[in-house]
Each structure stands twice: as C-alpha cells, then as structure tokens.
C-alpha cells in the first residue's frame, strides 16, 4: 500500500518562499491564495532570538476532519492518502475550512480549494513509470523547486523510500498531532539520537 507524505526539514528551510511561488505557478492559484505557505516564526528576545521557517499547507491527514464534515462528498481521500476536492460537487459552505486545523482551505470562485500534492503530476508520472519524490516529473512542484533541499516527497509505507530513510535518520514531529488527524506532513528538527 502506498501512503504519499511530505517532509519539511526545518533545519534546511531558509524561508525563501520559492515553493510558494512554484505552487502558485503550477496550480494557477489567484492572488491571496497560497496552497503552500512558509511561516516565519521568531522566538525569544534580542539578542537571544531564534528563527524557524515552517512550510505549511494541507497535511493530507489520515483522518481528515474536512472529509467527515463535507456535506456534498466533494472532499475525498484516495487510497494513497491524498485528500482531494471535487470542484463539481463542492457547494462552498466552507465547513471544511473551519474544520481544518491547518488553515489549508481557501474559497475560490465559490468553492473550496487546497493543496493536492500536485496529484495530476503524481498520477501522470506513475502512469509513465516514474517514481514520485525521485523523478521531478512525478513530484509536487513545491518539492521540485526547493532551493535548500528542505522539502521531500515519497511513500512512507515503502521502507526503502527517501522519506522513510529521512524519518529513520532524524527526529521529527507532525503539526497538532494531539488532535488525532494523522497528518501526512512531517517536520524534521534534529538528527536521531
């Protein structure tokens, strides 16, 4: 079984927002809509200030709250873990937007939109025999564009995948894990002890 997941190495991210721009270019999102964003987190007071850049977006949860609340069944979850929105079914009630703990949903032209992990690229790449996360043609645009090598994509169910190796070698967390949503987005913060 495949479970696509994304990894952001917080030690490497420099907050350049190239992933944000690449996402906007690849998905044609309107102004103000950023399916991939990078937060700039500043902690402490001068001179002991620390800074972290945190890529965020749809976490493609194992148990997505947006899926359960959607009254129109526009939000669906594929077997490979990718959460999608059917634009022809969505009524734009925004219930998914208030149900998402990651502020990943945007209402555009009256319907909900969000990061799709560039699902079309993944499907087309797989059909062409390519490996998502390894072959750029089959990999999400944000990951391809990352100048620092901070973003990674792959199948966490495959023990030999790039993302499985990164998770094994590093300490990581997922955002708001206590809510039980099971995000498919991991953050690396230090080497494994």
């Amino acid at each position: 079984m495949t479970r696509w997941a994304m990894i952001a190495d917080l030690r490497r991210c420099v907050g350049c927002q190239t992933c944000t721009a690449a996402c906007k270019q690849a998905n044609g999102t309107p102004p103000g809509v950023q399916w991939r964003r990078v937060l700039d987190v500043e902690v402490g007071e001068y001179p002991a200030v620390r800074r972290a850049f945190v890529p965020v977006g749809c976490q493609h949860c194992d148990d997505p709250p947006c899926l359960h609340v959607c009254p129109s069944t526009a939000t669906r979850k594929r077997a490979d873990g990718i959460v999608t929105v059917d634009p022809d079914l969505c009524i734009g009630c925004a219930y998914c937007a208030v149900a998402c703990p990651y502020q990943a949903r945007y209402k555009v032209d009256g319907i909900a939109t969000k990061c799709t992990f560039c699902v079309e690229r993944i499907d087309a790449g797989l059909a062409a025999g390519l490996k998502p996360g390894v072959d750029p043609e089959a990999t999400p645009a944000c990951v391809n564009s990352c100048i620092a090598g901070a973003l990674h994509f792959g199948d966490i169910e495959d023990p030999a995948s790039n993302v499985s190796a990164l998770l094994a070698e590093n300490q990581h967390f997922r955002m708001h894990e206590e809510l039980g949503t099971g995000p498919g987005f991991y953050y690396l913060w230090d080497k494994a002890p």
Partner: protein, 257 residues
Amino acid sequence: MTYGPRPWLQQHWDVRAALNFMLGGTGSGLMVFLAITRAESAWPILVSLLLVAAGLGAVWLEIGRKLRALHVFFNPFTSWMTRESFVALLLFPLGLGAFLTSKFLPVAALAALAFLYCQARILHGAKGIPAWRAPQLVPLMVLTGLAEGAGALVLFSSRPLALALLAAAVIARAAFWMRYRQAVSNDALESAGKALVHIGTSAVLVLAAASFYVAEAAYLAGLAAIATGWHFKLALVTRAALNQGFALPRLPVRGTR
C-alpha cells in the same frame, strides 16, 4: 511550550451562518415547548417553522454555489450538516401537519429536537476551532436553543407552565455555560457569557416571578432569554472563533552536532 503564530479569527463563517444557529435554535426550541405545553393556538407553530426556514435561508446566502444547494444532502454518513438538512426536510412537513392538526405536534417536536442537536454537532465537528470543538458546547447549544424557545413560548403564552419551563431552561443554560467556560477559555465570549448569566438567567427569573404581579414582565423575560442566547451565538460564531493556529513543539537544531 510551543512556538508559532497566535491563532486568528476564522473568516469563513459570518453573521449569516450565525443566524442559522440563532433563528434555527429559537424556532426548533419553540416547537419542542409548544408540544410540551400543548399549544392553545396553532400560529406559534408557523412562527417556529418560519424561524427555522429563515435561519436556513440565511446560511444558504453564505454558500459559494447557491444553485448546488441540494448537494448538501449527499453525505448523511458523517456530515452533521447533511443530517441537519435531512431533519429539516422532515421538520417542515411535520410542522405544517401540526399546524393543521395537533396530532403531529409531538413528532414535529422530536424532529425539532433532532434539528437542534444537529446544529450543536455541526459546531462540534469543526475541529479547526477550539471554541467550537469542545464537547461541552453540544449540550450548551441545545440548551441555549431550548432557552430561546422557552422565551419565545412565553411571548405567546404566559401561563405558569410556560414560565416554569423558561425558568428551568435558563437555569440549565447558565449551568452548562459555566461548565463550558471551565473547559474553554475565550475572552471574546466573556461579555456574552456574563449577559447569559446576569440578564439571561438572573433577570429572566426575576421578571418571570414579577409577571405574577405585572403580566407584561413575562414578555420582557422571554425577550431577555432570546436576546442573550442570540448574543452568545453571534459572539461564538463571529468573534470567538479563533482557529487552531500553528504550533511547533520543537525548534530546529541547526549546525553540526
């Protein structure tokens, strides 16, 4: 300790969504109490249905694709919004039946109670909003709707039974507000909560007692119960709905180690 930007107010649901909870809560609460008190007149049943319809109409104005509104019925398996719509579909014919013959009133009241419960679960299902997802909100929302319904009932009939039901409903609402407040800390709800306790409970009880001497005080009691419930729901949806924000449990360890 976590790091990250502070939560901010959700911008997706505004006063139109709040109106669904306000009007729908009052309308369905009224239907419940009309069945309990065996309404003298059928007209309050119609008022109850009109309130629910107005609430649903208000929320319809909020959706992005209005002509696709029927898609709301597609997910009864997990979505409380779909379930609310199905219950509304039952409530209207049953309510109209009750308007014509009181035999239908108990069943219509059950549908109204189910509608009220669905509304409470809609908010509880919004996991991205801590003030809404608290399980303590579910009974509070149901009781707020019932208290508003009892307030509306008193506007139509100030019989002692109606006043007793109003008193019981506002006391229960205040008790569950305090229970909710212990679980959820939200500054934006403080003034609405105080109004719920002082005006919506204490003043309502005093006015209800005074109505035995000055009959008009009953109307004031009813209005106070409704107004404070609406104020609370409006604050809950439009001012207290801070999102989850982002929180890093760890900061990155940079450099070699």
